[in-house]
Symmetry: C2
């Protein structure tokens, strides 16, 4: 099994109300990438947020801090200008997901209101246009406790299980694996970022060859319930 | 730019003292995968630990707890049988990295003593055998705070920067990005896991087409210094 990661260039600057599924489908087709059955289509949330109008004016740092406070359901830690917050969706990330990079001057980009629903909309739109029903993963770039550097993770999913549950499966030595739930959509998000880059304005990629069963997972499944979480 | 992920099958069960670089190189060649210049070779630490003799007897849960306590430099949290600990290397993970899955009955696998050095040894060994100098990433499977499910991360690196530093690079809108250090080797580790699986006994993969500059990074670079860390 070989998996390939294909950037999808040619998606124009997205504005509120743009038909994102149509623009992604056109770019995928123009790049000669199909899509093919079994492809997973990965889209960074920034274009999703822009299409959904989740962009607000943000002229200075004070305004940015107010927007972050508005978006935060709870603040876990604060140091200088950095706030680690839980969003209304339940994601814990820097600045409640409010981002000024890759945003037009004087604006900030919020997270989509319901990224799983956004993923579902992109999936059904592309299915309608192309006749191929591909799972969709919507990503954001998160920091992590304990480890330096950011990685892309899934914040919206449609058409796949978010977690591959290998509990109860024998490992290679025949021993039943105790607690192996793989966050496969986070691995897909991280893999896709290898071809999207951060500065290149390539907001979508295709992950081909995974042979994953279709599923009805949501990225919200990845949120660890507070009572299981030891680091809040 | 297309990136491809290739599993490397055919690596035998590894025992203490086995020449791991030779076995990986032979499996890569037998799979018709080269290696080619620019390939990144990803190896799960379990085979590294086995080759290095980092395997101990572990007959029951009490013994397992003693081994975990020995391997932990500090315990951050404890709940039931689960211990979140900092290892001597500085990695923070479940059970100080001591693992009974994919271990022979009655044994547990420890982390390599110096995984960056292990990666370097595999890289130089494969270079000597194949004449191609490929970066090597040694991986482990870690849980995360806040997010359910495990993902593979880098614990050893040779021949690459661990972190891609995009700070000071303009983003697609021309705005200077503020704090974008991408943990690219963690994204490589996560991507490779998509073709290695957890139960399939495929302990190596090739990531082809990344076009990353050679570098002298270490996975230890990924460890966030305690004074920058808000979640200890």
């Amino acid at each position: 099994m070989t998996v390939s990661l294909h950037p999808v260039p040619g998606i124009p600057e997205i504005r509120r109300g743009d038909d994102l599924p149509a623009l992604v489908a056109a770019a995928v087709a123009a790049a000669g990438l199909g899509p093919l059955p079994g492809d997973v289509i990965v889209v960074t949330h920034k274009v999703v947020s822009k299409a959904e109008g989740m962009v607000v004016g943000c002229l200075d740092d004070a305004e940015y801090r107010r927007i972050v406070a508005d978006e935060a359901a709870a603040v876990l830690r604060r140091r200088g200008d950095l706030v680690i917050a839980r969003t209304r969706h339940g994601y814990i990330c820097a600045n409640a997901g409010v981002d000024r990079s890759n945003a037009a001057q004087g604006t900030a980009i919020l997270l989509p209101r319901d990224p799983d629903r956004s993923a579902h909309g992109i999936r059904t739109g592309i299915h309608r246009i192309c006749g191929v029903d591909c799972p969709v993963v919507v990503t954001d770039t998160f920091g992590r406790p304990w480890r330096r550097g950011v990685v892309d993770v899934a914040i919206g999913v449609s058409g796949l299980e978010a977690i591959l549950d290998l509990r109860g499966t024998p490992d290679a030595s025949g021993r039943i694996m105790e607690a192996t739930e793989v966050a496969v959509v986070d691995e897909i998000a991280a893999a896709a970022d290898l071809v999207m880059g951060k500065a290149d304005a390539i907001p979508a990629a295709i992950v081909r060859g995974l042979a994953l069963a279709p599923g009805a997972g949501r990225a919200a499944d990845l949120i660890r319930p507070a009572d299981e979480d030891m680091f809040r």
